[in-house]
Symmetry: C5
Subunit: 121 residues, 5 copies
Amino acid sequence: DIRRSGFITIGYRGSYTLGRDSQTDAKFRRVARIMVCGKTSLAKEVFGDTLNESRDPDRPPERYTSRYYLKFTFLEQAFDKLADAGFHMVACNSTGTCAFAHDQTDDKIWTSYTEYVFYRE
Amino acid sequence: DIRRSGFITIGYRGSYTLGRDSQTDAKFRRVARIMVCGKTSLAKEVFGDTLNESRDPDRPPERYTSRYYLKFTFLEQAFDKLADAGFHMVACNSTGTCAFAHDQTDDKIWTSYTEYVFYRE
Amino acid sequence: DIRRSGFITIGYRGSYTLGRDSQTDAKFRRVARIMVCGKTSLAKEVFGDTLNESRDPDRPPERYTSRYYLKFTFLEQAFDKLADAGFHMVACNSTGTCAFAHDQTDDKIWTSYTEYVFYRE
Amino acid sequence: DIRRSGFITIGYRGSYTLGRDSQTDAKFRRVARIMVCGKTSLAKEVFGDTLNESRDPDRPPERYTSRYYLKFTFLEQAFDKLADAGFHMVACNSTGTCAFAHDQTDDKIWTSYTEYVFYRE
Amino acid sequence: DIRRSGFITIGYRGSYTLGRDSQTDAKFRRVARIMVCGKTSLAKEVFGDTLNESRDPDRPPERYTSRYYLKFTFLEQAFDKLADAGFHMVACNSTGTCAFAHDQTDDKIWTSYTEYVFYRE
Protein backbone atom coordinates (compact mmCIF):
# COMPACT_ATOMS: atom_id res chain seq x y z
CA ASP A 1 0.00 0.00 0.00
CA ILE A 2 1.73 3.17 -1.18
CA ARG A 3 1.65 5.78 1.60
CA ARG A 4 -0.97 8.53 1.14
CA SER A 5 0.65 11.06 3.46
CA GLY A 6 3.66 13.18 2.54
CA PHE A 7 5.14 16.52 1.48
CA ILE A 8 5.28 18.01 -2.02
CA THR A 9 7.25 21.20 -2.76
CA ILE A 10 6.43 23.46 -5.72
CA GLY A 11 9.19 25.86 -6.80
CA TYR A 12 10.01 28.29 -9.63
CA ARG A 13 12.82 30.62 -10.65
CA GLY A 14 11.51 34.07 -11.56
CA SER A 15 13.43 36.69 -13.50
CA TYR A 16 12.85 40.43 -13.70
CA THR A 17 14.76 43.00 -15.72
CA LEU A 18 15.77 46.17 -13.87
CA GLY A 19 16.40 48.39 -16.89
CA ARG A 20 16.51 52.17 -16.50
CA ASP A 21 13.35 52.64 -18.57
CA SER A 22 11.59 49.61 -17.17
CA GLN A 23 12.04 50.74 -13.60
CA THR A 24 8.64 52.42 -13.40
CA ASP A 25 6.64 49.88 -15.44
CA ALA A 26 5.19 47.24 -13.07
CA LYS A 27 6.29 43.85 -14.41
CA PHE A 28 3.86 40.99 -13.94
CA ARG A 29 5.05 37.73 -12.37
CA ARG A 30 6.74 35.50 -14.95
CA VAL A 31 7.09 31.79 -14.24
CA ALA A 32 9.25 29.94 -16.78
CA ARG A 33 8.85 26.51 -15.28
CA ILE A 34 7.15 25.01 -12.17
CA MET A 35 9.35 22.40 -10.51
CA VAL A 36 7.93 19.56 -8.37
CA CYS A 37 9.84 17.86 -5.53
CA GLY A 38 8.72 14.94 -3.37
CA LYS A 39 7.78 11.25 -3.56
CA THR A 40 7.25 10.27 -7.22
CA SER A 41 4.03 8.36 -6.42
CA LEU A 42 2.46 11.46 -4.82
CA ALA A 43 3.59 13.76 -7.65
CA LYS A 44 2.05 11.45 -10.24
CA GLU A 45 -1.18 11.06 -8.27
CA VAL A 46 -1.68 14.84 -7.99
CA PHE A 47 -0.50 16.05 -11.42
CA GLY A 48 -1.05 13.00 -13.66
CA ASP A 49 -0.42 13.75 -17.33
CA THR A 50 0.43 17.41 -16.65
CA LEU A 51 3.68 16.17 -15.08
CA ASN A 52 6.93 16.07 -17.10
CA GLU A 53 9.23 13.27 -15.86
CA SER A 54 11.74 13.44 -18.70
CA ARG A 55 14.57 14.81 -16.54
CA ASP A 56 14.19 12.03 -13.94
CA PRO A 57 12.83 8.96 -15.78
CA ASP A 58 12.22 5.46 -14.32
CA ARG A 59 11.85 6.53 -10.68
CA PRO A 60 10.19 3.73 -8.60
CA PRO A 61 7.05 4.95 -6.74
CA GLU A 62 8.51 5.09 -3.23
CA ARG A 63 11.53 7.09 -4.36
CA TYR A 64 11.93 10.88 -4.24
CA THR A 65 12.66 13.39 -7.00
CA SER A 66 13.48 17.08 -7.34
CA ARG A 67 13.62 17.03 -11.16
CA TYR A 68 9.97 16.76 -12.17
CA TYR A 69 8.26 19.84 -13.62
CA LEU A 70 4.80 20.76 -14.88
CA LYS A 71 3.47 21.24 -18.40
CA PHE A 72 1.59 24.42 -17.43
CA THR A 73 3.01 27.56 -15.82
CA PHE A 74 0.23 28.95 -13.59
CA LEU A 75 1.23 28.49 -9.93
CA GLU A 76 -2.37 28.74 -8.67
CA GLN A 77 -3.37 25.92 -11.07
CA ALA A 78 -0.74 23.74 -9.35
CA PHE A 79 -1.93 24.90 -5.90
CA ASP A 80 -5.54 24.07 -6.82
CA LYS A 81 -4.62 20.56 -8.01
CA LEU A 82 -2.78 19.94 -4.73
CA ALA A 83 -5.74 21.20 -2.67
CA ASP A 84 -8.14 19.04 -4.70
CA ALA A 85 -6.01 16.04 -3.69
CA GLY A 86 -6.22 17.01 -0.01
CA PHE A 87 -2.86 18.80 0.38
CA HIS A 88 -2.52 22.00 2.47
CA MET A 89 0.05 24.76 1.95
CA VAL A 90 2.09 24.84 5.21
CA ALA A 91 4.89 27.25 4.35
CA CYS A 92 6.64 29.21 1.62
CA ASN A 93 9.88 31.12 1.22
CA SER A 94 11.71 33.17 -1.38
CA THR A 95 15.22 34.37 -2.06
CA GLY A 96 16.67 36.46 -4.86
CA THR A 97 19.78 38.12 -6.14
CA CYS A 98 20.92 40.64 -8.69
CA ALA A 99 22.92 39.13 -11.53
CA PHE A 100 25.17 40.45 -14.31
CA ALA A 101 23.94 43.10 -16.65
CA HIS A 102 23.31 42.46 -20.30
CA ASP A 103 26.24 43.90 -22.28
CA GLN A 104 24.24 46.10 -24.61
CA THR A 105 21.41 47.41 -22.53
CA ASP A 106 23.09 47.64 -19.11
CA ASP A 107 19.89 46.16 -17.66
CA LYS A 108 20.38 44.11 -14.53
CA ILE A 109 18.65 40.72 -14.33
CA TRP A 110 17.17 39.97 -10.93
CA THR A 111 16.70 36.23 -10.41
CA SER A 112 14.57 34.80 -7.59
CA TYR A 113 13.73 31.28 -6.37
CA THR A 114 10.39 30.83 -4.57
CA GLU A 115 8.99 27.60 -3.17
CA TYR A 116 5.70 26.53 -1.57
CA VAL A 117 5.57 23.49 0.76
CA PHE A 118 2.39 21.34 0.79
CA TYR A 119 1.51 18.48 3.17
CA ARG A 120 -1.21 15.78 3.23
CA GLU A 121 -1.89 13.85 6.48
CA ASP B 1 -20.96 24.91 -11.66
CA ILE B 2 -17.85 27.06 -11.42
CA ARG B 3 -15.70 25.82 -8.53
CA ARG B 4 -15.84 27.97 -5.37
CA SER B 5 -12.57 26.75 -3.88
CA GLY B 6 -9.16 27.91 -5.01
CA PHE B 7 -6.05 30.03 -4.47
CA ILE B 8 -5.56 33.74 -5.25
CA THR B 9 -2.14 35.42 -4.96
CA ILE B 10 -1.76 39.16 -4.42
CA GLY B 11 1.64 40.65 -5.28
CA TYR B 12 3.35 44.03 -5.66
CA ARG B 13 6.75 45.43 -6.58
CA GLY B 14 7.96 48.00 -4.08
CA SER B 15 10.76 50.49 -4.62
CA TYR B 16 12.81 52.41 -2.09
CA THR B 17 15.54 54.95 -2.73
CA LEU B 18 18.71 54.56 -0.69
CA GLY B 19 20.11 58.07 -1.14
CA ARG B 20 22.86 59.33 1.18
CA ASP B 21 20.60 61.94 2.76
CA SER B 22 17.50 59.74 2.78
CA GLN B 23 19.18 57.05 4.80
CA THR B 24 17.79 58.24 8.15
CA ASP B 25 14.31 59.29 6.99
CA ALA B 26 11.90 56.35 7.37
CA LYS B 27 10.20 55.85 4.00
CA PHE B 28 6.60 54.65 4.08
CA ARG B 29 5.56 51.60 2.06
CA ARG B 30 4.85 52.55 -1.55
CA VAL B 31 2.74 50.20 -3.68
CA ALA B 32 2.63 51.17 -7.36
CA ARG B 33 0.31 48.43 -8.48
CA ILE B 34 -1.35 45.36 -6.86
CA MET B 35 -1.23 42.31 -9.14
CA VAL B 36 -3.75 39.46 -8.92
CA CYS B 37 -2.99 35.85 -9.94
CA GLY B 38 -5.35 32.89 -9.97
CA LYS B 39 -8.53 31.60 -11.63
CA THR B 40 -10.23 34.47 -13.53
CA SER B 41 -13.69 33.54 -12.17
CA LEU B 42 -12.47 33.82 -8.55
CA ALA B 43 -10.64 37.09 -9.20
CA LYS B 44 -13.75 38.64 -10.74
CA GLU B 45 -15.99 37.37 -7.95
CA VAL B 46 -13.79 38.90 -5.23
CA PHE B 47 -12.73 42.20 -6.83
CA GLY B 48 -15.55 42.91 -9.30
CA ASP B 49 -15.26 46.34 -10.93
CA THR B 50 -12.10 47.21 -8.98
CA LEU B 51 -10.28 44.65 -11.17
CA ASN B 52 -8.36 45.75 -14.28
CA GLU B 53 -8.33 42.98 -16.93
CA SER B 54 -6.91 45.05 -19.76
CA ARG B 55 -3.57 43.23 -19.85
CA ASP B 56 -5.24 39.79 -20.09
CA PRO B 57 -8.59 40.30 -21.88
CA ASP B 58 -11.09 37.60 -22.89
CA ARG B 59 -10.00 34.94 -20.37
CA PRO B 60 -12.72 32.23 -20.02
CA PRO B 61 -13.83 31.72 -16.37
CA GLU B 62 -12.07 28.44 -15.68
CA ARG B 63 -8.75 29.74 -16.98
CA TYR B 64 -5.92 31.23 -14.93
CA THR B 65 -4.19 34.62 -15.12
CA SER B 66 -1.19 36.38 -13.60
CA ARG B 67 -1.81 39.67 -15.47
CA TYR B 68 -4.81 41.17 -13.66
CA TYR B 69 -4.25 44.13 -11.34
CA LEU B 70 -6.37 46.31 -9.07
CA LYS B 71 -7.65 49.87 -9.48
CA PHE B 72 -6.73 50.78 -5.90
CA THR B 73 -3.31 50.49 -4.22
CA PHE B 74 -4.00 49.69 -0.56
CA LEU B 75 -2.94 46.11 0.15
CA GLU B 76 -5.14 45.81 3.26
CA GLN B 77 -8.17 46.83 1.15
CA ALA B 78 -7.42 43.85 -1.13
CA PHE B 79 -6.90 41.60 1.91
CA ASP B 80 -10.23 42.73 3.40
CA LYS B 81 -12.13 42.02 0.14
CA LEU B 82 -10.61 38.53 0.03
CA ALA B 83 -11.53 37.87 3.68
CA ASP B 84 -15.08 39.14 3.06
CA ALA B 85 -15.35 36.50 0.29
CA GLY B 86 -14.21 33.75 2.68
CA PHE B 87 -10.51 33.55 1.70
CA HIS B 88 -7.76 33.08 4.33
CA MET B 89 -4.15 34.25 4.04
CA VAL B 90 -2.04 31.06 4.20
CA ALA B 91 1.46 32.34 3.41
CA CYS B 92 3.53 35.27 2.20
CA ASN B 93 7.07 35.82 1.00
CA SER B 94 9.31 38.65 -0.15
CA THR B 95 12.53 39.09 -2.06
CA GLY B 96 14.47 42.18 -3.01
CA THR B 97 17.62 43.43 -4.65
CA CYS B 98 19.63 46.56 -5.07
CA ALA B 99 19.60 47.89 -8.61
CA PHE B 100 21.57 50.48 -10.58
CA ALA B 101 22.12 53.97 -9.28
CA HIS B 102 20.60 57.06 -10.90
CA ASP B 103 23.24 58.94 -12.90
CA GLN B 104 22.73 62.33 -11.28
CA THR B 105 21.90 61.57 -7.68
CA ASP B 106 23.93 58.39 -7.26
CA ASP B 107 20.99 57.07 -5.20
CA LYS B 108 20.52 53.31 -5.34
CA ILE B 109 17.04 51.99 -6.12
CA TRP B 110 16.11 48.98 -4.02
CA THR B 111 13.35 46.94 -5.70
CA SER B 112 11.36 44.26 -3.86
CA TYR B 113 8.63 41.80 -4.86
CA THR B 114 6.22 40.66 -2.10
CA GLU B 115 3.32 38.28 -2.48
CA TYR B 116 0.49 37.04 -0.23
CA VAL B 117 -1.21 33.67 -0.90
CA PHE B 118 -4.94 33.31 -0.07
CA TYR B 119 -7.06 30.13 -0.13
CA ARG B 120 -10.81 29.41 0.07
CA GLU B 121 -12.02 25.81 0.84
CA ASP C 1 -21.64 50.38 12.18
CA ILE C 2 -17.93 50.46 11.36
CA ARG C 3 -16.72 46.97 10.44
CA ARG C 4 -14.82 45.15 13.22
CA SER C 5 -13.01 42.69 11.00
CA GLY C 6 -9.96 43.53 8.91
CA PHE C 7 -6.20 43.41 8.37
CA ILE C 8 -3.53 45.63 9.92
CA THR C 9 0.12 45.47 8.78
CA ILE C 10 3.01 46.58 11.02
CA GLY C 11 6.30 47.35 9.26
CA TYR C 12 9.73 48.83 9.96
CA ARG C 13 12.97 49.60 8.12
CA GLY C 14 16.01 48.30 10.01
CA SER C 15 19.58 49.34 9.40
CA TYR C 16 22.81 47.58 10.33
CA THR C 17 26.36 48.75 9.78
CA LEU C 18 28.76 46.18 8.36
CA GLY C 19 32.01 47.89 9.35
CA ARG C 20 35.28 45.92 9.38
CA ASP C 21 35.63 46.15 13.16
CA SER C 22 31.93 45.75 13.87
CA GLN C 23 31.75 42.47 12.02
CA THR C 24 32.17 40.35 15.14
CA ASP C 25 30.12 42.44 17.57
CA ALA C 26 26.48 41.27 17.56
CA LYS C 27 24.28 44.31 16.91
CA PHE C 28 20.89 44.38 18.57
CA ARG C 29 17.74 44.99 16.52
CA ARG C 30 17.22 48.71 15.93
CA VAL C 31 13.74 49.95 14.97
CA ALA C 32 13.68 53.62 13.97
CA ARG C 33 9.96 53.86 13.35
CA ILE C 34 7.00 51.39 13.36
CA MET C 35 4.64 52.02 10.41
CA VAL C 36 0.95 51.05 10.48
CA CYS C 37 -1.08 50.18 7.37
CA GLY C 38 -4.79 49.35 7.14
CA LYS C 39 -8.24 50.86 7.72
CA THR C 40 -7.89 54.12 9.71
CA SER C 41 -10.77 53.18 12.07
CA LEU C 42 -9.07 49.91 13.05
CA ALA C 43 -5.66 51.56 13.50
CA LYS C 44 -7.17 54.21 15.80
CA GLU C 45 -9.14 51.62 17.77
CA VAL C 46 -6.02 49.49 18.46
CA PHE C 47 -3.35 52.17 19.02
CA GLY C 48 -5.38 55.20 20.20
CA ASP C 49 -3.15 58.08 21.33
CA THR C 50 0.07 56.15 20.62
CA LEU C 51 -0.72 56.58 16.91
CA ASN C 52 0.85 59.41 14.88
CA GLU C 53 -1.46 60.50 12.02
CA SER C 54 0.45 63.62 11.05
CA ARG C 55 1.65 62.25 7.70
CA ASP C 56 -1.90 61.25 6.65
CA PRO C 57 -4.32 63.67 8.37
CA ASP C 58 -8.11 63.82 7.93
CA ARG C 59 -8.64 60.25 6.76
CA PRO C 60 -12.36 59.25 7.07
CA PRO C 61 -12.87 56.07 9.19
CA GLU C 62 -13.62 53.67 6.34
CA ARG C 63 -10.58 54.76 4.34
CA TYR C 64 -7.17 53.06 4.28
CA THR C 65 -3.71 54.41 5.08
CA SER C 66 -0.09 53.29 4.85
CA ARG C 67 1.32 56.51 6.38
CA TYR C 68 0.48 56.16 10.07
CA TYR C 69 3.27 55.34 12.53
CA LEU C 70 3.58 54.72 16.26
CA LYS C 71 4.96 56.91 19.03
CA PHE C 72 6.88 53.99 20.58
CA THR C 73 9.46 51.74 18.91
CA PHE C 74 9.08 48.30 20.54
CA LEU C 75 7.59 45.89 18.00
CA GLU C 76 6.35 43.48 20.68
CA GLN C 77 4.47 46.36 22.36
CA ALA C 78 2.62 46.88 19.06
CA PHE C 79 2.03 43.13 18.71
CA ASP C 80 0.64 42.97 22.27
CA LYS C 81 -1.78 45.86 21.65
CA LEU C 82 -3.04 44.12 18.49
CA ALA C 83 -3.50 40.81 20.36
CA ASP C 84 -5.33 42.61 23.18
CA ALA C 85 -7.77 43.90 20.55
CA GLY C 86 -8.36 40.38 19.21
CA PHE C 87 -5.98 40.43 16.21
CA HIS C 88 -3.84 37.40 15.28
CA MET C 89 -0.49 37.46 13.45
CA VAL C 90 -1.07 35.50 10.22
CA ALA C 91 2.18 36.09 8.31
CA CYS C 92 5.40 38.04 8.15
CA ASN C 93 8.14 38.65 5.58
CA SER C 94 11.43 40.47 5.30
CA THR C 95 13.70 41.72 2.56
CA GLY C 96 17.00 43.54 2.67
CA THR C 97 19.82 44.93 0.59
CA CYS C 98 23.28 46.28 0.92
CA ALA C 99 23.52 49.99 0.23
CA PHE C 100 26.30 52.50 -0.38
CA ALA C 101 29.26 52.82 1.91
CA HIS C 102 29.92 55.87 4.08
CA ASP C 103 32.71 57.96 2.55
CA GLN C 104 34.91 58.14 5.63
CA THR C 105 34.47 54.81 7.33
CA ASP C 106 33.90 52.67 4.24
CA ASP C 107 31.27 50.81 6.32
CA LYS C 108 28.42 49.36 4.31
CA ILE C 109 24.87 50.11 5.48
CA TRP C 110 22.56 47.12 5.19
CA THR C 111 18.90 48.22 5.06
CA SER C 112 16.00 45.80 5.61
CA TYR C 113 12.21 46.12 5.50
CA THR C 114 10.20 43.68 7.65
CA GLU C 115 6.43 43.52 7.99
CA TYR C 116 3.95 41.53 10.13
CA VAL C 117 0.36 40.96 8.93
CA PHE C 118 -2.43 40.79 11.57
CA TYR C 119 -6.10 39.86 11.04
CA ARG C 120 -9.27 40.06 13.18
CA GLU C 121 -12.37 38.04 12.19
CA ASP D 1 -1.09 41.01 38.31
CA ILE D 2 1.59 40.96 35.59
CA ARG D 3 0.00 39.98 32.29
CA ARG D 4 0.67 36.37 31.20
CA SER D 5 -0.05 36.85 27.53
CA GLY D 6 2.35 38.46 25.07
CA PHE D 7 4.89 38.14 22.25
CA ILE D 8 8.58 37.26 22.50
CA THR D 9 10.91 37.48 19.48
CA ILE D 10 14.13 35.45 19.25
CA GLY D 11 16.73 36.68 16.73
CA TYR D 12 20.34 36.05 15.67
CA ARG D 13 22.85 37.37 13.16
CA GLY D 14 24.52 34.57 11.24
CA SER D 15 27.71 34.87 9.23
CA TYR D 16 29.03 32.65 6.47
CA THR D 17 32.27 32.96 4.54
CA LEU D 18 32.02 32.59 0.75
CA GLY D 19 35.67 31.83 0.04
CA ARG D 20 36.73 30.27 -3.27
CA ASP D 21 37.86 27.04 -1.59
CA SER D 22 35.02 27.00 0.90
CA GLN D 23 32.39 27.21 -1.81
CA THR D 24 31.80 23.47 -1.94
CA ASP D 25 32.16 22.68 1.76
CA ALA D 26 28.73 22.84 3.46
CA LYS D 27 29.06 25.20 6.45
CA PHE D 28 26.97 24.42 9.50
CA ARG D 29 24.73 27.10 11.00
CA ARG D 30 26.73 29.37 13.34
CA VAL D 31 24.87 31.42 15.94
CA ALA D 32 27.10 33.93 17.75
CA ARG D 33 24.44 35.30 20.06
CA ILE D 34 20.65 34.77 20.54
CA MET D 35 18.85 38.06 21.13
CA VAL D 36 15.53 38.30 23.04
CA CYS D 37 12.93 41.03 22.46
CA GLY D 38 9.65 41.57 24.31
CA LYS D 39 8.26 42.41 27.77
CA THR D 40 11.03 42.04 30.39
CA SER D 41 8.75 40.13 32.79
CA LEU D 42 7.99 37.47 30.15
CA ALA D 43 11.63 37.16 29.09
CA LYS D 44 12.71 36.62 32.70
CA GLU D 45 9.91 34.12 33.36
CA VAL D 46 10.88 31.97 30.33
CA PHE D 47 14.69 32.16 30.41
CA GLY D 48 15.45 32.86 34.11
CA ASP D 49 19.18 32.72 34.86
CA THR D 50 20.10 31.86 31.25
CA LEU D 51 19.15 35.45 30.35
CA ASN D 52 21.82 38.18 30.10
CA GLU D 53 20.36 41.60 30.99
CA SER D 54 23.67 43.47 31.17
CA ARG D 55 23.01 45.56 28.05
CA ASP D 56 19.58 46.73 29.31
CA PRO D 57 19.78 46.75 33.15
CA ASP D 58 17.06 47.92 35.58
CA ARG D 59 14.07 47.48 33.26
CA PRO D 60 10.76 47.49 35.25
CA PRO D 61 8.65 44.35 34.61
CA GLU D 62 5.99 45.89 32.40
CA ARG D 63 8.56 47.55 30.13
CA TYR D 64 9.90 46.19 26.84
CA THR D 65 13.44 45.42 25.70
CA SER D 66 15.28 44.43 22.54
CA ARG D 67 18.70 44.22 24.20
CA TYR D 68 18.52 41.01 26.23
CA TYR D 69 20.43 37.96 25.00
CA LEU D 70 20.92 34.37 26.10
CA LYS D 71 23.87 32.63 27.75
CA PHE D 72 23.58 29.62 25.42
CA THR D 73 23.66 29.59 21.60
CA PHE D 74 21.39 26.72 20.53
CA LEU D 75 18.24 28.15 18.94
CA GLU D 76 16.22 24.98 19.52
CA GLN D 77 17.08 25.15 23.23
CA ALA D 78 15.49 28.63 23.30
CA PHE D 79 12.50 27.37 21.28
CA ASP D 80 12.02 24.46 23.71
CA LYS D 81 12.09 26.77 26.76
CA LEU D 82 9.46 28.99 25.13
CA ALA D 83 7.24 25.98 24.29
CA ASP D 84 7.62 24.66 27.86
CA ALA D 85 6.25 28.01 29.07
CA GLY D 86 3.24 27.73 26.74
CA PHE D 87 4.45 29.92 23.84
CA HIS D 88 3.82 28.97 20.20
CA MET D 89 5.96 29.95 17.19
CA VAL D 90 3.66 32.02 14.95
CA ALA D 91 6.06 33.31 12.28
CA CYS D 92 9.67 33.69 11.26
CA ASN D 93 11.61 35.68 8.65
CA SER D 94 15.15 36.11 7.44
CA THR D 95 17.15 38.61 5.43
CA GLY D 96 20.78 38.67 4.39
CA THR D 97 23.40 40.53 2.42
CA CYS D 98 26.86 40.15 1.06
CA ALA D 99 29.40 42.36 2.74
CA PHE D 100 32.97 43.44 2.02
CA ALA D 101 35.69 40.92 1.38
CA HIS D 102 38.57 40.39 3.78
CA ASP D 103 41.64 42.13 2.37
CA GLN D 104 43.95 39.12 2.44
CA THR D 105 41.73 36.20 1.56
CA ASP D 106 39.27 37.94 -0.79
CA ASP D 107 36.54 35.88 0.90
CA LYS D 108 33.17 37.54 0.99
CA ILE D 109 31.32 37.58 4.32
CA TRP D 110 27.60 36.94 3.99
CA THR D 111 25.68 38.28 7.00
CA SER D 112 22.08 37.31 7.74
CA TYR D 113 19.51 38.28 10.40
CA THR D 114 16.81 35.70 11.23
CA GLU D 115 14.03 36.07 13.79
CA TYR D 116 11.30 33.79 15.19
CA VAL D 117 8.11 35.28 16.69
CA PHE D 118 6.44 33.45 19.62
CA TYR D 119 3.07 34.21 21.25
CA ARG D 120 1.29 33.04 24.44
CA GLU D 121 -2.49 33.63 24.85
CA ASP E 1 12.32 9.91 30.90
CA ILE E 2 13.75 11.75 27.87
CA ARG E 3 11.37 14.50 26.83
CA ARG E 4 9.25 13.70 23.76
CA SER E 5 8.39 17.30 22.86
CA GLY E 6 10.77 19.69 21.13
CA PHE E 7 11.89 21.52 17.99
CA ILE E 8 14.02 20.19 15.12
CA THR E 9 15.32 22.48 12.34
CA ILE E 10 16.26 21.15 8.90
CA GLY E 11 18.51 23.41 6.78
CA TYR E 12 20.50 23.36 3.56
CA ARG E 13 22.76 25.66 1.53
CA GLY E 14 21.74 25.76 -2.12
CA SER E 15 23.89 27.06 -4.95
CA TYR E 16 22.85 28.22 -8.41
CA THR E 17 25.07 29.40 -11.25
CA LEU E 18 24.00 32.59 -13.01
CA GLY E 19 26.02 32.16 -16.17
CA ARG E 20 25.17 34.20 -19.24
CA ASP E 21 24.08 31.16 -21.24
CA SER E 22 22.44 29.45 -18.30
CA GLN E 23 20.15 32.36 -17.61
CA THR E 24 17.23 30.92 -19.55
CA ASP E 25 17.64 27.26 -18.59
CA ALA E 26 15.59 26.50 -15.44
CA LYS E 27 17.95 24.91 -12.90
CA PHE E 28 16.45 22.31 -10.61
CA ARG E 29 16.89 22.60 -6.85
CA ARG E 30 20.26 21.20 -5.75
CA VAL E 31 20.76 20.19 -2.13
CA ALA E 32 24.36 19.31 -1.28
CA ARG E 33 23.76 18.41 2.34
CA ILE E 34 20.74 18.47 4.75
CA MET E 35 21.75 19.76 8.19
CA VAL E 36 19.85 18.84 11.39
CA CYS E 37 19.67 21.06 14.49
CA GLY E 38 18.00 20.31 17.81
CA LYS E 39 18.16 17.93 20.80
CA THR E 40 20.39 14.95 19.91
CA SER E 41 17.89 12.43 21.36
CA LEU E 42 15.10 13.71 19.08
CA ALA E 43 17.34 13.79 16.01
CA LYS E 44 18.40 10.19 16.59
CA GLU E 45 14.82 9.05 17.24
CA VAL E 46 13.55 10.55 13.96
CA PHE E 47 16.45 9.84 11.58
CA GLY E 48 18.12 6.77 13.15
CA ASP E 49 20.87 5.33 10.94
CA THR E 50 20.32 7.93 8.19
CA LEU E 51 21.88 10.49 10.56
CA ASN E 52 25.58 11.40 10.32
CA GLU E 53 26.96 12.42 13.74
CA SER E 54 30.63 12.47 12.76
CA ARG E 55 30.99 16.26 13.04
CA ASP E 56 29.51 16.33 16.58
CA PRO E 57 30.36 12.96 18.19
CA ASP E 58 29.62 11.86 21.80
CA ARG E 59 26.72 14.27 22.45
CA PRO E 60 24.69 13.17 25.55
CA PRO E 61 20.94 12.74 24.77
CA GLU E 62 19.66 15.87 26.50
CA ARG E 63 22.22 18.10 24.74
CA TYR E 64 21.68 20.11 21.55
CA THR E 65 23.55 20.08 18.22
CA SER E 66 23.66 22.06 15.01
CA ARG E 67 26.31 19.85 13.35
CA TYR E 68 24.39 16.68 12.46
CA TYR E 69 23.51 16.04 8.81
CA LEU E 70 21.67 13.39 6.83
CA LYS E 71 22.94 10.61 4.58
CA PHE E 72 20.31 11.34 1.92
CA THR E 73 19.67 14.66 0.14
CA PHE E 74 15.92 14.76 -0.56
CA LEU E 75 14.32 17.40 1.67
CA GLU E 76 10.83 15.87 1.36
CA GLN E 77 12.24 12.52 2.57
CA ALA E 78 13.42 14.33 5.73
CA PHE E 79 10.06 16.11 6.06
CA ASP E 80 8.19 12.79 5.71
CA LYS E 81 10.34 11.13 8.43
CA LEU E 82 9.63 14.05 10.77
CA ALA E 83 5.86 13.88 10.05
CA ASP E 84 5.89 10.10 10.62
CA ALA E 85 7.35 10.79 14.08
CA GLY E 86 4.55 13.29 14.86
CA PHE E 87 6.38 16.57 14.05
CA HIS E 88 4.64 19.45 12.27
CA MET E 89 6.31 22.09 10.07
CA VAL E 90 5.61 25.42 11.83
CA ALA E 91 7.75 27.85 9.83
CA CYS E 92 10.43 28.24 7.20
CA ASN E 93 12.68 31.03 5.94
CA SER E 94 15.32 31.59 3.29
CA THR E 95 18.08 34.05 2.58
CA GLY E 96 20.54 34.28 -0.26
CA THR E 97 23.33 36.33 -1.73
CA CYS E 98 25.38 36.69 -4.84
CA ALA E 99 28.98 35.64 -4.41
CA PHE E 100 32.20 35.97 -6.42
CA ALA E 101 32.43 34.95 -10.01
CA HIS E 102 34.51 32.04 -11.24
CA ASP E 103 37.72 33.27 -12.83
CA GLN E 104 37.34 31.45 -16.13
CA THR E 105 33.64 31.42 -16.81
CA ASP E 106 32.70 34.73 -15.16
CA ASP E 107 29.54 32.98 -13.93
CA LYS E 108 28.25 34.29 -10.63
CA ILE E 109 27.49 31.74 -7.89
CA TRP E 110 24.31 32.54 -5.98
CA THR E 111 24.33 30.87 -2.56
CA SER E 112 21.19 30.50 -0.45
CA TYR E 113 20.45 29.12 3.04
CA THR E 114 16.93 27.77 3.66
CA GLU E 115 15.62 26.23 6.87
CA TYR E 116 12.38 24.53 7.96
CA VAL E 117 11.33 24.49 11.64
CA PHE E 118 9.42 21.44 12.96
CA TYR E 119 7.76 21.00 16.37
CA ARG E 120 6.27 18.04 18.28
CA GLU E 121 4.00 18.66 21.31
